[in-house]
């Protein structure tokens, strides 16, 4: 177990560093324009640009620049090229919105995904299964930002019905009711795709597991249908869902819900990343990438541990 943790921690650290290096390379290799020119502004003289290039270190070899950026990131002094604001501070500001969005949507999509999958599998071939299958397919075929735009138009303030408030994040500490009310639409929109996807995967897994020998044995022992389903079938069928949920949850927590955050203007980490990319602002992109990779790596370790709990045959290696 100790060896498992040591190896995974070292691996995780390496992946995080490698990911930032890849992002750095993308912006060095791909000629996106001179950062010095953007810092200097439109009316800068040639001398201004040369000075900025020197003082920010853009005239150094790329590995020196990369090393400096990492050092600044870990000491918390990394600042944006365009707005000169502290990157770590900005990410911290976006975290409450991103966390609220992820946790709420995660609960919705896990609960509904599992219920939808179980209902479809239990009633396989009947009307409810057909309806769920069709709805799940439509759900996974929709672009999430389009669904967000349409939902805002039909349901949110400024649209047709004005049932929900229109986007924007209200801090939980300021007003829990408004927090919930403002996030409800983003939660549902983000969850739709995952519900359809999880429902389909789980339905398939349950139908596979139901034909296993041990389920027949359980039936022969005279266990009730409900007990077989919950204790025997669902336990194995949920393993792939746990992997999916761990990785999806981590990706959204790490700023992966860029589209949802942008459509609803939540000012989360994902939206910060999108804005920085549009401004071609390398330091925030590096910061958000490292932040996102951290969650993905941590959650993949958690998923492996949870695996071992669900299926005692698997040992974390």
């Amino acid at each position: 177990m100790a060896a498992f943790f040591v190896r995974r921690t070292v691996g995780a650290a390496l992946v995080c560093v490698a990911v930032t290096f890849v992002v750095f390379l993308i912006f060095i290799v791909v000629p996106g324009g001179d950062p010095a020119q953007r810092i200097a502004g439109k009316n800068a003289t040639q001398q201004n640009i040369v000075n900025i290039r020197h003082s920010w270190g853009f005239d150094q070899p790329f590995y020196v620049q990369y090393w400096r950026m990492l050092k600044k990131m870990f000491s918390g002094t990394l600042v944006s090229y365009t707005s000169q604001q502290n990157v770590i501070q900005q990410i911290k500001q976006g975290m409450p919105a991103t966390f609220s969005l992820t946790i709420g949507a995660g609960i919705i999509w896990l609960l509904f995904g599992i219920s939808v999958g179980v209902i479809a599998a239990v009633t396989a071939g009947r009307l409810s299964d057909r309806v769920i299958t069709v709805l799940a397919l439509i759900g996974i075929s929709m672009p999430v930002f389009w669904l967000g735009i349409v939902a805002r138009y039909y349901l949110a303030e400024g649209g047709l019905t004005s049932i929900f408030p229109d986007g924007e994040y209200v801090p939980f500490t300021q007003s829990p009711v408004q927090w919930f009310w403002h996030l409800l639409l983003p939660w549902l929109v983000l969850a739709v795709l995952f519900i359809g996807f999880y429902g389909r995967v789980l339905r398939g897994n349950i139908l596979d597991t139901i034909n296993e020998d041990y389920v027949r044995t359980a039936k022969a022992k005279g266990l009730s249908r409900r007990r077989i389903l919950l204790k025997h079938v669902l336990r194995t069928s949920l393993i792939p869902i746990v992997t999916l949920f761990g990785l999806d949850f981590a990706a959204v927590l790490g700023g992966g819900a860029i589209l949802t955050e942008t459509v609803f203007d939540l000012h989360g980490v994902g939206q910060y990343a999108a804005q920085s990319i549009n401004n071609f602002d390398l330091p925030p992109i590096m910061g958000v990438t490292l932040y996102g990779a951290f969650f993905i790596v941590v959650f993949s370790v958690l998923v492996d541990l949870f695996y071992a709990y669900l299926d005692p045959r698997i040992r974390p290696t």
Binding site: V15, C16, A18, V19, V22, V23, I26, F27, V29, V30, P31, G32, G33, L137, I138, I140, S141, M142, P143, V144, F145, W146, I149, V150, Y153, G158, G159, L160, L193, F197, V201, L244, A251, G254, G255, G256, I258, L259, T262, G270, A273, A274, I277, N278, F280, I285, V288, T289, G292, A293, I296, V297
Partner: protein, 372 residues
Amino acid sequence: MAQRVTESEFTLDTAAALAAAEPASAIRGRSPWYLAWRRLRRNYVAFAFLGLFVLILIACALAGVYARHVAHTGPNTNHILETVRVDGKPVPVISQGGYIDKKTGKPCTTGGSDCVLLSAIPIGPTWFSAGGRFVLGADQNGRDIAVRLLYGGRNSLIVGIGSSALCVFFAVVLALLAGYFRGWVDFVITRFFDLFYAFPVVLLGIALGSALAINGFHRFGINIQSGSLWIPTLVISYVLIPYVGRPLRGQVLSLREKEFVEAAIAQGASPLRIMFTDLLPNIASSVLVFFTLIIANNIVLEAGLSYLGAGVQPPTPSWGTLITDGQDLIVTRPWLALAPGIAIILTVLSLNVFGDGLRDALDPRAKVKVEH
């Protein structure tokens, strides 16, 4: 007509006699592909959706014909100052704005709370009452939305199918290399896959897409202009390689242990020959299913990247850019954003349903799954 035999009399000789009595055409070798085709043929739902996809393909392929002969305009032609005759009455393509009721889209008569101020309002759907012009209305620049929808579909499909083909090609090559050579080759390739798993797909996509969107790519002898469709195609194919490559690598690894590979090596076959004539046909069914489902995935991804400004660049139409354009006018002209979204849903849905049917037909117990 075979004679009836009881079980006790049944020997190998009777079996041979029975077989000889059968018409010669009744016994024939059936390839797995033929068996899959037979299973697929019975899946009417999958076929109906394949038909829908082909219809969409044909419609988008005929975008130029529609533009020239029905709508009499091009995808990027502005008609800001023109008028068009709807049911014989002249209607300006772009009307002066004013206070508009957001529920009906008509000018406000009373100053209620549903009134919004707009600077310019394009013509709404004419539904063929203007002789084929502006069937779905116009956008802010007076461009015909129906024409742009078809041209945009063409671009979205080119990006979706092209990136899927490239992605599957590279994933197959990497999976074959990793699975065949194993050892350090496998180590390097799997680390590459792992690394890209640690990125959120959309984040990597917009980073690459917007980095390339400014000046294009002009290094290593490759010249891609900044507005080129190659940029979203390459970016999307690139970010999804690990998602296809990893499961395929697993399949190749297990096939590598099979006797027929050992036999091929014993016969002196070269690694290339083994990879492409022995291993590749055995993963071909998974590759085909991945190809279909990844097209669906990529069309959605293209739309998302275009929405964030990192995909297809305006004024080139694509379903993603059309939704983005239509977003601002959704209150008065909801069709501008609704139509491309519905087009995406229908296309992606048809590909998903057909892809599922294809998977069930090729391997009823297959485990090929596309992760989003």
